[in-house]
Amino acid sequence: MYVAVKGGERAIENAHRLLAEERRGDPAVPELTLAQIDQQLAHAVDRVMTEGSLYDRELAALAVKQARGDLIEAIFLLRAYRTTLPRFGASEPVDTGEMVVRRRISATFKDIPGGQVLGPTFDYTHRLLDFTLAAEGAPVAAAEEAEQSVAAMPRVTDILGRDGLFEAETAEDDAPVGDVTRDPLEFPADRDLRLQVLARGDEGFLLALGYSTQRGYGNNHPFAGEIRLGEVDVEFVPEELGFPVELGEVTVTECQMVNQFKGSATMPPQFTRGYGLTFGHCERKAMSMALVDRALRARELGEEAAAPAQDEEFVLAHADNVQATGFVEHLKLPHYVDFQAELVMVRAMRDAAEQDNSRKVAAE
Amino acid sequence: MTERPILRVRGLTRLYGRTVACRNVSFDLWPGEVLGVVGESGAGKTTLLKCLSAQVEPTDGTIEYDTRADGLVDVFALSEPARRMLLRTDWGIVHQNPRDGLHMGVSAGGNVGERLMAVGARHYGNIRSEVLDWLDRVEIDTGRIDDRPDTFSGGMQQRVQIARNLISRPRLLFLDEPTGGLDVSVQARLLDLLRQLVASTGVAAIVVTHDLGVVRLLAHRLMVMRGGEVVEHGLTDQVLDDPQHAYSQLLVSSILQV
């Protein structure tokens, strides 16, 4: 007699063992340490922290290791951990104007107070495979110690803002900042929630959308006003103290896109902002986020909003890679029952069509 | 005929920023009456029609509609559900672009039958026969009932739109350039058809057009707009034969010259 596929449980258990084995790989090869991942695959850790929305290099490195380098899987792991953490409250907004800058460039002005600081970047490297890296232990030539600027570097957008050429950023209301990981997103979404979804959004998705705006699908004439990378202090006001205490510092990348705006009945012509912010060093993501943020403001600014990147519901509903990968991959789950229902339906329809045809033939 | 107008408009103004789209428009529309609105491009005709049909909120002024239950009520004082209900039962809108008025992915039959189903019709056979009847009335080959409108010509699409609206027996029809973009012979047939339908159903209508030929055929009364304002208003024949305002004269003479 036929026995329906049983033993799902044993199969799962075995699959987990296989996975663990493959994760480790050849035992003759030394095992990766979290410190190695943190130090030498730092961009992977940065991305996992950003899209996992949890700033913890060690946990992110662990997630990268556990996920065997699959970054979306690592983001998923970090998020599933994050969701269980107790919430003490929200920090004070970090002040990127007070950032200890390691990299800072502006495409809008040749020279700016504080200067351009190239910092660690792939830009201007020739993308030639460097075979010296294949050999282990080669010493690295030390970089020249940059002259540490004592005065904080003002943000380019603040400089423009002083002349009224750049829109001021003001809170829409006094409401506390929303939290997309706690509350359902409703449309139209406020800017705080929109920026959160973008910050957590998939780098590839935002990159493609940002790119599409440059190719005529919702152009908003962007200039990279400023990109800065460095460390900022995180402060928190405990209720019982009533004044901010410093919790520590985090590395962030900020991108402010400066976009043309022709003006409307209520606003004079000026430059408008597209904003991107990430944990760690995620420049591509910060830039893409800024492009998409600005594109999503089309309606607010009275611009025509016809391109995909300007479509709030489309962008926000599909930016999250953990949601997306879950739903795409759920197609692997059994759908026997629905498929059976379809089979029965299609067979019945084919029978009806056949009878129809034979009736027609008989009539002729 | 009742003593009440079906639509009473007073001081209707709509601004877009500093642009005046239409200003201080007032008129009454009587049951069964067809009002033509003419004027050059940008005169504010579409804006006026969109305000009247509750698709765009006026900056100022009132629009009252003679509801079956409560008589004249301010359209914008109605709740949104009540307004949307009016839009899909008592009123009909024929859009200038059929894409705005039809579901291009749904068959002609589905398009025409939608209003019946929206108010609770649940008998497929009855819906179907009423749809067939209306396709016939707008002179569409009933054999095309299951074809999608994007396989139809522009004139046929307009006729599907008209059938889709008239099937709910509306009391008021809004038409924006119903013959725009059609060639002359198709225009003539569509106008003829509209005239018959308006006469046989007794529906009141507001027709926006820049084509004086259309209003001469369809409209009892005529409003001439320019720069957002009504510059002349009267019986169609009077306005066309003896225009008073300089702009109406220009408009009429320019047509006659052709």
Binding site: A4, V5, M345 | -
Partner: protein, 296 residues
């Protein structure tokens, strides 16, 4: 399967540092409030602050959150996928709760107090006091007709359901019948059009006036909705094209049932087929009964 066995399969170590049923109590209270609201407005989709779960979106995160919020230590949990208790995803979810709650699990529909399901309603009729929790991928029945949430919410609020009926009309015009085999839209309590989740339409009649509480959780889409006990659930149709359910030319090859949803099993590559109950508990129960009868 007992909870002990599942725990064994997934590592016996206790999951330290997690609350009973994984979610923290505050989150559970938030979800319970959403459930209460959903029960108060049958068929209405209540937005809720869906949490990120350690299982992927689309694999039952909504159902899991609902179950986690209503489960108590005395509950007896059954989890099915495609009607069966032993499909991998059902096993995995059951193990998750066995591990995080330690409650008793069962495969018997009649013994369960909570049943979490994907794609089926058990054949054994449910009774008062039981709770059936559906995993829902897309809670919005109008989604295929109107992709915008802002518009569909308005359509529900105003009960503007013409387009849904038009889609059924289109099926009949094109295929001579309503060609929806699963996820067949229903109207709950003569008000909201609701997605039954992707159950086959065969199961739709079981939703109607069911004595159990039916809860629906959509994690990724962040919606919860409910059908309270004994609530009218009507499958949409036309008077002259009434709703019907699928029928099989055969009966179950294992238990002989003629009234259950049958899975088709391809037995060889020469067109060999057999049909067996999709509901494994129902099938096993019938076979046990039959065995007793023949033995007696």
């Amino acid at each position: 399967m007992t909870s002990d066995e599942t725990t064994a399969a997934f590592g016996a170590e206790h999951v330290a540092g997690y609350n009973f049923a994984y979610l923290d109590e505050q989150t559970k209270r938030m979800i319970r409030r959403a459930i209460l609201k959903a029960i108060a407005i049958p068929g209405y989709q209540v937005p809720f602050g869906s949490r990120e779960m350690p299982l992927p979106y689309g694999w039952g995160t909504g159902g899991i959150q609902v179950t986690a919020s209503v489960i108590g230590p005395d509950d007896v949990l059954k989890v099915i996928d495609q009607g069966a208790d032993d499909t991998t995803n059902a096993v995995s979810i059951r193990a998750f709760f066995a591990k995080t709650t330690g409650v008793a699990t069962t495969e018997r529909t009649a013994e369960a107090t909570l049943i979490q399901t994907r794609h089926r309603i058990p054949e054994t009729p449910l009774r008062e006091g039981q709770v059936l929790i559906y995993q829902v991928p897309i809670p919005e029945p109008l989604r295929w007709l109107e992709p915008r949430e802002s518009e569909t919410r308005k359509m529900h609020a105003l009960a503007e359901y013409g387009v849904m009926q038009v889609s059924l009309y289109e099926d009949i015009a094109r295929y001579g019948r309503i060609a929806k085999a699963y996820n067949y839209p229903v109207r709950v309590h003569a008000r909201y059009i609701t997605s039954p989740s992707p159950i086959p339409k065969f199961d739709n009649p079981k939703m109607d006036r069911n004595p159990a509480i039916q809860l629906f959780g959509a994690g990724r889409e962040r919606r919860i909705y409910a059908i309270p006990p004994y609530t009218a659930v009507e499958s949409l149709d036309f008077d002259d094209y009434p709703f019907t359910v699928e029928q099989w030319p055969e009966s179950c090859a294992l238990c002989g049932a003629t009234d259950s949803f049958l899975d088709e099993i391809v037995t060889n590559d020469k067109g060999g087929r057999m049909f067996i109950c999709s509901d494994t508990d129902y099938c096993a129960g019938r076979r046990a009964e039959n065995g007793e009868e023949t033995a007696a």
